[in-house]
Amino acid sequence: MLRRKKHIAQNQNQEFSFRAHAWQQFRKNKPALWSLRVMLLLVIIALLAPVLANEKPLYMKYGGQTYWPAFTSAKNYSLTNPKTGQTTSLELELADWKRMEFESVVWAPIAWSPGRTDEANMRYVGPGDPQRFIDANGDTLFMPGRFKHYLGTNSLGEDVAAGLIHGARVSLTIGLLSMSIAAMLGLLLGSLAGYFGNERLRTTRARLWLTVFSIFPAWFYAFSVRSFALRDALNNSGSSFLGQLLLSLLVFAAVIMAFNYLGKWISRGAFLGKIVNVPVDAYISRFIEILNSTPTLILIISISALAKEPSIIYVLVIIGLTSWTGIARFTRAEFLKIRSMDYIKAAEAMGFKEGRIMLRHALINGMAPSLVSIAFGIASAIITESSLSFLGIGIPPDIVTWGKMLSQGQAHYQSWWLVLFPGIAIFITVTVYNLIGDGLRDAFDPKLKR
């Protein structure tokens, strides 16, 4: 019954839906579809990283009480030994979990945390090498199966598998967040350039001049007055700097808006009120050209040399700020097409404001192709991140990343597992995003498909 209804609905809905068509095209592309699945798997691994690889037990029973050490935010447990009746405080971060005796316990699939030393297996123990375990009595045993280092260890005895799982988190965070920044910038500038082109943004002379001039006071109020707040935040932490920077940007925008309105208000008379043309497209295209000709990796390296404390946030913000050009170009091209379409003319005829037309009508339809660029962008952001951590620049030393593990392997050639596994992880992630990007491009632009 339900199926039949759906069938009828499909028949009735004879209209061609671009998005449905694109999705159909995408689904036909087997590698891309599989990449989408692998990508989802990677995202799930990244989200579940603390459950998949953790030295703390997921669940434990001790002295008749149950605990969930991997999920708690508590720093200490006060445990009462059931035999002696003594109460001891257990520091969760420092505890020697594997040598404690529990009534029952459930370990994470990989019972190691990234960046934690296993003294018994220091100095590059490979996946096939005999691994040692020191039990509570101090005797050296063979490694029990559930504590095995499946993918070996590095020079400090840190588990490679745990590093890989948590490294996925770092890579995907940087890839996705930096591309969201890039997407916002790219969509905004690309749609402005495409929609207004070189002739369509017309405004009064006073308004234009005041807006251009307002860059100085906006800079003053956003950055000069607030320079100490920004500088202190920079020395403090990455996230507080991000907050202060956002506030500054808001102030910046607010001042420009204020001057813009002032300009609107004083636009009277033949001189001040004369209608002039703003070649938005030319400016934005030139800006894209300039950004494209700066060597991004060297720029990131140079800027990360400024921060006192390296932080992931700086890296992802810089990647985001420098990699929006592809998205902007896609969006621009799409908007150039859209703006001559009938529905935009209809919306204009109905007297909607330009902001509304751009946001509610054009952007919704023009956004899809930029997904192609976003997918490729994520791939290259992940490569940039891993190159940086391979060089040891910009990423804090206490965070385990794929690139960092690879560079450890590069320093010690006998330990092939330190090169191969992180390298394959980077390779798979990058391939997956590239394949998705390819699939999307073919789906959105059937002309290119062959």
Partner: protein, 499 residues
């Protein structure tokens, strides 16, 4: 054509300006004081005379580096800060003054306070210590200790902007100077300083910090950095620097030598590796791409497509490490040296270019493979797509119809037109090659620019970082220009006359 190239160069100027501006912003915000980084004389101890000599030498150095100039042509500052604030030498002192201005907004009172603290610092060293003939030895030692304590507090006053801290420190000074040996002159100075502080903290004019003012300076640090301190066009009369447009990039903090010398040694390696690899990539990728397109859906096409896609997604440093692991590893195949570009003992004496090249070749093979493959994958895919596009066009059908052999159709008619898009890609590959070279140069130990910037970051050598950044941007632009010219050469339809 010449006109077009000329116009293109004119367009580069704003781009170069922005790149140089970015580099300048980085160098200005670099942590630490360049004067301290470059100062080679001994730091002054407690001795007053020596301290003054060190200060004087540092001031000379500051002038040499142009740090006594304003930052930029236009600066936006508040009404509260005087337009001569940049003349304050000491960076820490400058920062605390700046913060005071931000807090109180009354420059007259702030400068009075700063002057009185400086006077106090001089006065405290002039206070005579009690003679051991009049007081006991332990008392004399105690007095010295007290005075040193006071000196420390006064010095710290110079670099503080927190009113609570200043207040408590002034209180402490007052208590410490209750002892008999302190002169009344010093006590009056101290009370003057205290009044200066109360005046500064009570007569606020914070509103001034919210009024922006624009300042214009013809001679500033940026101008000096770009054009040198002589005539900006001819460079005549330059004393300390000729500016980066004449190739003077300043002095490295690390080697204390001219950055230009280091860069001159590094640039050829980077350019050599990038150029050879890009040319190799073009030479290999064009036949692959064309062959794959001509035999679409053949085994070769499918196999090469998959291989190239995989290569394209492979990060170059992973590829490089794998190659090293396989071919420069005594446990696997020890075919190539793992590091460097020439033997440790250097070239034999009197070796010509070809001799040197022959010696260096084994060192260069692995790096060149790594350099080449990523652009190779990209280019082959691009070439295949553009050939496919051409093959479907009418003039190819015409060529086939007139009975030309498939070979001639593809290699003579199609390829020439398919080359167009791949030439424009040159401008995409070149920046990527320069940027990617950082990782590969570090990995393979090639003494190029990437390696220099990597080392510079480890030693916090900002003049070096900024110079390499600027030069890489410049080289990228040159890459764009070359791509544009090639584009015009390959496609005679394109005329660059202005509309």
């Amino acid at each position: 054509m010449l006109k077009y190239i000329f116009r293109r160069i004119i367009v580069f100027i704003p781009t170069l300006f922005i790149i140089s501006l970015l580099a300048f912003v980085i160098s200005v915000n670099a942590p630490g004081d360049p004067v301290n980084a470059l100062f080679s004389g001994s730091e002054g101890g407690g001795d007053n005379g020596q301290n003054e000599r060190v200060e004087r030498e540092k001031a000379v150095l500051r002038h040499k580096l142009g740090l006594d100039l304003p930052l930029f042509y236009i600066t936006v500052s508040s009404l509260a800060s005087p337009d001569t604030l940049y003349k304050v030498f000491d960076r820490a002192e400058y920062a605390s003054l700046d913060r005071l201005i931000n807090r109180y907004g009354n420059w007259n009172e702030i400068s009075a306070w700063s002057k009185s603290v400086k006077a106090l610092r001089k006065a405290v060293l002039a206070v005579p210590l009690p003679d051991t003939s009049t007081v006991s030895r332990s008392e004399a030692e105690n007095a010295l200790l007290q005075r040193n304590n006071c000196v420390e507090i006064i010095v710290s006053l110079q670099f503080t902007d927190d009113p609570v801290q200043i207040g408590s420190r002034l209180e402490e000074l007052k208590k410490l100077t209750a002892a008999a040996f302190w002169t009344n002159e010093f006590r009056t100075r101290l009370s003057e300083t205290t009044t200066a502080f109360t005046q500064m903290s009570t007569q606020k004019s914070v509103w001034k910090t919210y009024i922006p003012t624009l300042n214009f300076y013809g001679n500033n640090q940026y101008h000096r950095w770009i054009f040198g301190d002589g005539n900006w066009l001819t460079g005549k009369g330059a004393v300390n620097t000729e500016g980066i447009i004449r190739g003077d990039f300043g002095i490295s903090y690390g080697t204390k030598q001219s950055v230009t010398r280091t860069i001159k040694r590094a640039v050829p390696w980077s350019v050599l590796m990038t150029l050879i690899s890009v040319i190799l990539a073009y030479l290999i990728s064009i036949p692959i791409g064309v062959y794959a397109a001509a035999h679409k859906d053949s085994l070769f096409d499918r196999f090469s497509s998959v291989m190239l896609f995989m290569l394209y997604s492979m990060p170059s440093f992973f590829m490089g490490t794998l190659l090293l692991l396989l071919f420069a590893n005594p446990e696997m195949f020890d075919l190539f040296p793992a590091n460097g570009v020439k033997p440790v003992e250097g070239y034999p004496e009197g070796a010509g270019f070809f001799e040197k090249f022959r010696i260096s070749l084994p060192y260069l093979i692995l790096p060149l493979i790594t350099y080449t493959y990523s652009s190779l994958a990209f280019l082959s895919r691009q070439m295949r797509v553009s050939t496919l596009e051409i093959v479907h066009q009418d003039f190819i059908r015409t060529a086939r119809a007139k009975g030309l052999s498939e070979r001639v159709v593809i290699w003579k008619h199609a390829v020439r037109n398919a080359l167009l898009p791949i030439v424009t890609v040159f401008s995409n590959i070149f920046p990527a090659a320069i940027g990617g070279s950082v990782v590969l140069e570090v990995l393979f130990g090639i003494p190029g620019m990437g390696r220099e910037i990597f080392d510079a970051i480890r030693t916090q050598d900002y003049p070096m970082i900024v110079s390499v950044f600027t030069l890489s941007g410049f080289m990228t632009l040159v890459g764009y220009l070359v791509a544009d010219i090639l584009y015009a050469v390959v496609d005679p339809r394109i005329t660059y006359s202005s509309k």
